[in-house]
Symmetry: C3
Subunit: 165 residues, 3 copies
């Protein structure tokens, strides 16, 4: 019984730690500090933005695909240095974080995201909605993403996804 209580407490503590982590990353993205994103990932990570259709059918197609933190850094550098796009602001809303399993220091978790987009001359609108399907590992006391798949409910993302979600 005590073991069960301790296990419950442990899962609740982990859940809260993950909520904080997810909020930190969302805040960095909303605050135009996308450069810090790779620091939350392992070097051998997979970062992917895909559609629900592709995800459910196991299809490889993705809106954004980074195989390793180096590729994620490259991608961000490319966005910053070469991509031209109208200024806009994004805002993340994250809800429903669940821990699917937490064995052997490997954690599988998911959470819903809703991101609004506001162009400089338009009101904010719902831009993408979906869920993060994540695998994390603990390295030196910190939780790092080994895999983050942002699965979008959107059938068709009208405006191309510029930044990582």
């Amino acid at each position: 019984m005590q073991a069960t209580l301790d296990a419950t407490t442990g899962v609740n503590t982990l859940r809260q730690e993950l909520r904080n982590l997810y909020d930190d990353i969302a805040d960095a993205l909303d605050d135009d500090r996308v450069e810090v994103l790779p620091d939350y990932f392992t070097e051998d990570c997979l970062y992917k933005v895909t559609s629900r259709e592709n995800f459910d059918q196991g299809l490889p197609g993705a809106l954004m695909y980074c195989d390793g933190a180096a590729m994620l850094r490259d991608r961000i550098l490319a966005i910053r240095e070469t991509q031209v796009y109208e200024p806009r602001s994004w805002r993340h809303f994250i809800s429903g974080l669940c821990v699917l399993n937490a064995d052997d220091d490997t954690i599988r978790a998911r959470a819903n995201f809703l991101v609004t987009e506001a162009m400089s001359d338009e009101d904010p609108r719902v831009f993408v909605v979906g869920r993060y399907v994540d695998t994390l590992v603990r390295r030196g006391g910190r939780l790092l993403f080994k895999e983050r798949i942002a699965v979008c409910d959107n059938h068709y993302v009208r405006r191309s996804i510029i930044m990582p979600i």
Copy 2:
């Protein structure tokens, strides 16, 4: 003073426990596992989806009405076995959970919900927005819903509500 501090700690712990519970249920609904929903309710529960207008005026009309967990199970079975509807995905966003009172193992709480709906060939849009008005009891260490009323701000739910909110 110590008693007050302990009481505050207790309410905060309860609030966090409820946030976890609400997130678990939302995750089950979004993940197409609606069959687990009745397990979160007492056998003599009331589950209702209604409009703000009806709720505020105390009118009995409801978009969904289940008087007991058995009726909720029946309803879900009916949805699964008989109802034909275009595939779509829902996503819950829950915020603002508050504990209204917590006396004698009966807890009254409420929280806001926003649910997006995405048809297979359309982008997600805001589907229903409202608040849960809930009464919970503790049975054998678990919190169960004795009453959950999902009060929708929507004047008119364009697409009929198929699943419990």
Copy 3:
């Protein structure tokens, strides 16, 4: 190391305390109890609703500006007693609360907000989206807002903002 762990625990506890506080205020606003809002502020507070454009450029223009809790009370009284507007309901969704710094009992924090609005004969829609940029102080065990700036992503708030956000 222990000090670091304690500091981390302290920040996490504060973060959770702030989440509860933000949810309490949102609940009061959604529940038509705006009169309690000034109780969450210091007497010499600043409460402001402004646009991202104005905020980023340091421009003074604001959609709502209250210099002190007394002015906030006046404003609310004026809304209640003199303003005529069609009944509607608002619903706050708050996400991404971050503590920016917490030195010397002065806390700087921010969080995203999304508020839906539902007129009595229309479905809810996204009304305002933005972020709270806040400074809080601890007085007699309670956290009070010394400054709350609600920075809206909206370029143009179609319907005038009636109530504090």
